[in-house]
Amino acid sequence: MKDLSQQIKEVARSLLQDGKVDLVIGYENGSLPLRASPCFIRSAGEVERLIWNACCETNLATYLPDTNDRVGVVAKGCDARAIVVEIAERQVARERVVIIGVPCEGIIDRRKVASRLGWKEILQANLEDGRILLAGDGFEETLPLEDSLYEACLTCEQRTPPVYDYLVGEPIPAVDVIDPFREVTTLESQGADQKWAYFSQEFSKCIRCYACREACPLCYCPECFIDQTQPSWFGKTNDLSDTLIFHVVRALHLAGRCVDCGTCSRACPMGIDLRALNRKMIKDVWERYGYRAGLDLAAIPPLSTFKLDDPQEFIK
C-alpha cells in the first residue's frame, strides 16, 4: 500500500492538472516539532509539499466559506463532517468542493505530550510505528502514539469521512467506545454548585480573544451575537458572567452543528475545556432528536425542524 502522503499528492496533482480545482488545501510540514501547517497549493508543481501524518490537526473546513475558488480539500473524518454541515447549511456549494478524504487514526495532542515530558521543550519529534520519538536539550523519550491523542479522537465516531470524492487509503471503522459521553454524564450528575464551580474555574481563564470562534469551521456568522451593539447583549470584559455566557451561547448556537473536531480547544491559548460544553450539546441533540451533525448532506439540521411528539417533559 502506498503511503497516504503519496496518494494525497497524486490526487492533488491530477485535480490541478485536469483543471478540476483552482486550489488544493492540505498540510505541509510545520516549522516546529509535532506541527503540520495548512498549505495552499495552486499548481501541480507544488504538490510535493503536501504531507499527511498524525500532526495534521487543523480543520481545513474553516477556510471553505471564505473562498470562491473551486477547492480540493484534504479532510479527516471530523473535517469532512464539518464540510457536510457547511454544505447542508448553504455556506459552501457542493460543486465547489472536492473532498479528498483521509481515514484518520487520531491526532497528537501536543499539550498531552508536553505535560508527559514535564513541559520540557521538545526540539525534535519523529513518528514511527505507532510511537513518538522525542528529543530535547539533554533528554530523549519515546511515547506510544495511542496515549498521546486528543480526547476528541478517543471518542471519534467517524474516522473515515462520511462524504468524500476521493478516499486515500482504506476506510477504518469507528472507535468502539463503551460510554462516549462519560465526562458529560459525570458533570451532569453533580450538584448545581459543583457544576458552577467547575465552569467558573474553567472560564475564568478566558482572555476573550475569540480564537475559539475564529478557528471554528462552523462559526461562520458574519456578525457574532457578542459583537452586536444594537442591542449590546453581553459585556466583553473578563467579567465571569459575561465570559461564561459567551461560551454557553456559543455552544448553544453550535448545537446540531458541532462535529467535535476539537479545533476550538486547540486554538484556545489558555487551554480551556471548551469541549465540555460542546459535548453536552452533542449528547442532548443525539438523545433528544436522534441527530448527529455532518453525516448526511440531505439531513435537516435539528433546530430547523421539529417533530410533533418531541419530548417536552420540561414544559408545564
Binding site: L32, K205, I207, R208, C209, Y210, A211
Partner: protein
Amino acid sequence: MMDARAIDKGRIVGLLDELIERCEVFAPVMSDDVVLFDKIAWGSEARLDFGNSKRLPKEAFFPPSEVMFIYEGAQAEAPPSKGDRVLFGIRPCDARSFLLLDKVFNTPDYQDAYYVEKRERTCVVGIGCNRPLSTCFCTSVGGGPFNEEGIDVLLSDLGDRYLVQVISERGRRLLEGNGLLGEATESDLREGNRIAAEARERVTSMVETEGLRDRLMGMYDDPFWDALHQKCLGCGVCTYLCPTCHCFDVLDEGGEQRGRRVRIWDTCQSALFTLHASGHNPRPSGRERMRQRIMHKFRYFVDNCGEIACVGCGRCIRNCPVNMDLREVLSGIMER
C-alpha cells in the same frame, strides 16, 4: 558602578515574603498548565523554573480589561491609585517590551493615565534566561537573554543561588537593608558573566532585521501578502499573546445613570477593528490585516518610535494554531 549581591535559592521565598509585606508582588505562577503573572500572597507561589510565561507581564500595566471610570449621574471617577508593586521574575524580552509600550502610552502629548500611573509605581525584577527556547530570537531584534533594558534588578541563576545585580536606583531602594542578600563574590560575578555569554550563544534562532524596514517600504502592494494570509484563521492569538501589542477598544457597560467605561484588548486581526459605522472597511480581508500587523511592528513603529515593535519572545510562533512562523514571514520579506 554595578551593585551586585547574591542569594541562596532556598532564601528566595523569604525574599518574596518580605517584599509581599511591603508591596504588591506579581510573579509567574502556574495555573493548570498555563504560566501567568499574578499577584501572589506567598513567596512559595512563584515559579522561576519555567521559561517564558504564556500570559504577559504587561497585564500588570495594561490588563486585558480595565475599568477606566465609574460614572453615576454627571460624576465620573477613575479607580484610585494603589501602592508600590514589584514584578518579579520577568524575562528580559518582556522587560524590553515595557520600554516599547512606554513609547505608545507615555508620549509627551498625551500620557495614558492608567498605564503610566501603574508603570511608575512598579519595580521590575528580571531573571536572565540560561536556556532560551528554540523559538526565542531576542538577539535579532536588539535584546538578549540577559539584557538589562527595562529591568531594575536582574537575577542570574547560578545553580544553587542567584546573582542579584542592582541596575537602577529604584532597584537599589527595593533591596535596601534586606538581610537575606549577601555580597556577591568575584567568582559569582565571573560565573554570571559566563552564563550570560553562554546563553547568548544558545539563542540560535536568527532573523535578519537589518534593512527590514526599508524592504517593507516598497512592499505595500506586493503579491507577497496575497499568499501569506491564506492560512491565517484571523484568531488573533498572536496579538493577544504579544508583549508589544497595545491596541484596545473602549466600551460602556451600564445604563444612562450608572455604569462604567471599560477598555479591553482588541486585535488588528479582527474585521471589526476598523469597520466604520457606515459599513466601509479599510481593511476588509485577512490580507490587509496580516499586512497591518507586520507593517506596524516592523515598519510603522520603526518610523514613529525608532525601534522594531517585537522583542523576539516567540509566543506568536509557539501559540499560533496553524503554525504561522513569524521568523519565516520575516525571512520571506527579506527574500523579496
